[in-house]
């Protein structure tokens, strides 16, 4: 009995410790004053829909070249063979193109969801996927508010695919492929804070050209990809229901309650067990 009890508490201790660490991880605020993430500013007023970003992305990631072109009214989606797409929209201010890819949230839902840390928010800013850790549970896909991670359903060795902001190129000191090749200068790479300043400056200097909103500044707790648009974002098919606080906040309350339950429940149960030890069968019959 002594051994079991000791074992019992050891297991509780280990698990409790693991769970407490979990709490700390999620509680650490990614304070922007301490960490400066890289990001990309996309200005849809400059984008001409030439698909150069799609081609350069395919080349950089060894993916097949795009086979279709953006068309008004047709919604092209990213999938396991393309990590970014351009779509055209008919808006109140005419034709507008929008590039789509991973938003690289400051506090990503996919990273909080991942139980193996395969989805990882790097200190540089890009959210990357690590093949050797992933077990393919697809919880990242369930959690991502932008439906970004894609899964290779027809492979026996499937991967999760999504834009990684060309993390490897960034480490080599190069620009992300799409930014480097964009001739219209619709894409700007830089520190997120500088990009927000730049976006504000553009809105300030051309208030008639832009709507007064930087999509990604606050959405989902802030994202690494920032968007400028000439029309309200719902006209461009953006998820405008997205909440302003980060998505991991939603499960924080539950995760916080875990250590409490783990400590209080066994004590409570032992107490009840002790109290009912001498129950006579007669009393129980009423239950």
């Amino acid at each position: 009995m002594r051994i079991d009890r000791r074992n019992f508490f050891r297991v509780i201790g280990v698990t409790g410790a693991a769970l407490t660490i979990g709490k700390d991880t999620i509680a650490t605020p990614k304070n922007e004053n301490e960490i400066e993430f890289n990001g990309i500013l996309y200005d849809s007023t400059r984008c001409v829909g030439c698909q150069t970003c799609e081609y350069s992305c395919a080349e950089a990631n060894h993916l097949p070249e795009p086979v279709d072109a953006p068309e008004i009214g047709v919604l092209r989606k990213t999938d396991e063979s393309r990590r970014t797409v351009i779509n055209g929209y008919n808006t109140s201010k005419g034709e507008v193109y929008v590039k789509r890819q991973c938003m690289h949230c400051n506090m990503p839902a996919c990273t909080a969801a991942c139980l193996t840390q395969a989805m990882h928010k790097t200190k540089e800013g890009p959210v990357i996927w690590r093949e050797e850790k992933c077990m393919g549970c697809r919880y990242c896909m369930v959690s991502c508010p932008f439906d970004v991670p894609k899964f290779e359903y027809h492979s026996p060795n499937p991967k999760i695919t999504k834009c990684d902001m060309c993390y490897d190129r960034q480490l080599e000191g190069k620009l992300p492929a799409c930014v480097e090749k964009c001739e219209a200068e619709a894409l700007v790479f830089g520190k997120r804070r500088d990009l927000i300043k730049e976006a504000r400056r553009r809105i300030h200097e051309n208030p008639d050209l832009y709507v007064d909103h930087i999509y990604g500044e606050e959405e989902a707790g802030g994202t690494g990809f920032l968007y400028l648009s000439p029309v309200p974002f719902e006209e461009l098919g953006f998820n405008t229901k997205v909440q302003k606080i980060s998505y991991p906040e939603l499960s924080k309350g539950f995760l916080y309650s875990v250590p409490t339950v783990f400590v209080l429940w066994p004590a409570l149960l032992l107490g009840i067990q002790e109290a009912t030890k001498n129950n006579k069968p007669k009393i129980e019959e009423n239950e």
Binding site: L19, I21, A113, L115, G136, C137, L255, P281
Partner: protein
């Protein structure tokens, strides 16, 4: 010295006997061509073939899963619903070992066995759904602890709870093998395993609901609230007990030769008592649902197709069986209690699927429906579980009384 020798020889002899005993136990007992076998075997073989295809050609080859709906029947039904049904084990161990309600003692073993097998097989079904199942040890061995993930917690709790349930059940295995010393040691661990098991169950029954907390924009508002974890936990109480009533009624027919006269008679009383607990738990659940609904302010949504579906679930599958449990308890009508338990189980299936599949991306252009192959694999998993269940029941003292030596070593 000679003492030692004879001891070793005796031990060798014992080992040999044990092997022979195990070999004989692995042979089938009873008739081979029963209706259940005739139905289940082809489905199990077909399921196995489909599983081979799944690992050869990828998950997409036999499922309808899409990039927008990455979790389908195998998670929504096998895991999320199956684990709710397995909740009977923690509720009953709570009643018997913690509250000392000894009247229910005769069904603890079969319920724990059921719970244990459910976890083994539903966690097993989870492996089928994992794209890269060879990495499943990553969150366990500690090179990549994703501790901020609800799924990390659920995975660990599954594993630990399986161990706890195995310990709770292990005295029956020891009795089967005639291992007296082992039985003594194992049964002394029961209380610790029970307390640990109930704590784990509280957390992972609610944790299964908490998995969906981050999918806020994707689940229909009538089913999404920050209280999903609590609703999942409370509903697992009557889901598990309904399963106990349902499974017990079948077991008492199929394995009636195993059950002593005394336990046969006690069973009616047990079902009667459980119906009251079910009614109470369902009332608490319904009350919570009403609170959540009122706070959610989704009145206008009731007058939509999904709203009618929501009302069907709440009225037809919560209030109705709750009242049925209550009245059949008052009238002591065992048949109606069994009917109520079946309605409750259907309601739990509907509720879990509403959160995980039906209400998930309800507004998307295309919906997910499982393929017949997903359903066959699910059935194959359930049938395999029943086969193992039957195998154990026919060999170990689960439904029948423990061997007489057990009383002497106490």
């Amino acid at each position: 010295m000679s003492n030692m020798d004879s001891f070793t020889i005796a031990k060798d002899q014992e080992n040999k006997n044990l092997w022979r005993f195990l070999l004989s136990e692995f042979k089938p007992k009873g008739k081979i061509f029963t209706p259940f076998n005739i139905i289940s075997v082809p489905i199990m073989i077909l399921g196995l073939a489909l599983i081979v295809i799944r690992f050869w050609k990828g998950i997409g080859s036999i499922t309808n899963l899409t990039q927008e709906v990455p979790w389908g029947l195998w998670i929504g039904f096998d895991v999320v619903t199956g684990v709710a049904f397995a909740g009977g084990a923690y509720v009953l161990t709570f009643m018997v070992y913690i509250l000392n309600m000894k009247n229910y003692h005769s069904i603890v073993r079969v319920t724990v066995l059921n719970g244990f097998l459910a976890y083994v097989f539903y966690a097993g079904a989870l492996l089928l759904d994992l794209g890269r199942p060879w990495n499943v040890i990553n969150p366990i061995i500690g090179n990549s602890f994703g501790t901020s993930s609800v799924l990390f917690l659920v995975a660990w709790h599954f594993l630990l709870y399986m161990i706890a349930q195995l310990i709770e059940f292990s005295p029956a295995i020891a009795e089967w093998l005639g291992a007296r010393r082992a039985r003594k040691i194992l049964s002394s661990m029961t209380i610790a395993a029970v307390i640990f098991g109930i704590t784990l169950s509280t957390l992972h029954q609610s944790g299964l609901g908490a998995l969906y907390l981050m999918a806020k924009d994707k689940i229909h508002p009538l089913w999404y609230s920050e209280f999903i974890p609590i609703l999942f936990f409370v509903s697992s109480i009557f889901a598990g007990l309904s399963m106990v009533i349902f499974e017990g009624s079948i077991s008492h027919k199929v394995f009636s030769d195993q059950i002593s006269e005394k336990n046969h008679q006690a069973h009616t009383k047990i079902i009667h008592g459980l119906s009251k607990i079910c009614a109470g738990a369902m009332f608490a659940y319904f009350f919570l649902q009403v609170l959540v609904f009122v706070h959610g302010k989704h009145w206008t949504m009731l007058n939509t197709a999904m709203g009618y579906w929501y009302l069907t679930e709440m009225i037809g599958f919560v209030i109705c069986p709750m009242l049925l449990f209550f009245f059949s308890y008052r009238k002591n009508n065992i048949l109606l209690i069994k009917v109520a338990s079946v309605i409750t189980m259907v309601g739990i299936i509907i509720n879990r699927l509403n959160v995980s599949v039906i209400g998930f991306k309800w507004d998307a252009a295309s919906h997910y429906y499982p393929t017949w192959m997903e359903i066959v694999v699910t059935l194959a998993v359930i049938f395999t579980e029943i086969w193992i269940f039957r195998w154990v029941i026919n060999r170990m003292p689960v439904l029948r009384d423990s061997p007489s030596w057990v009383k002497n070593i106490k």
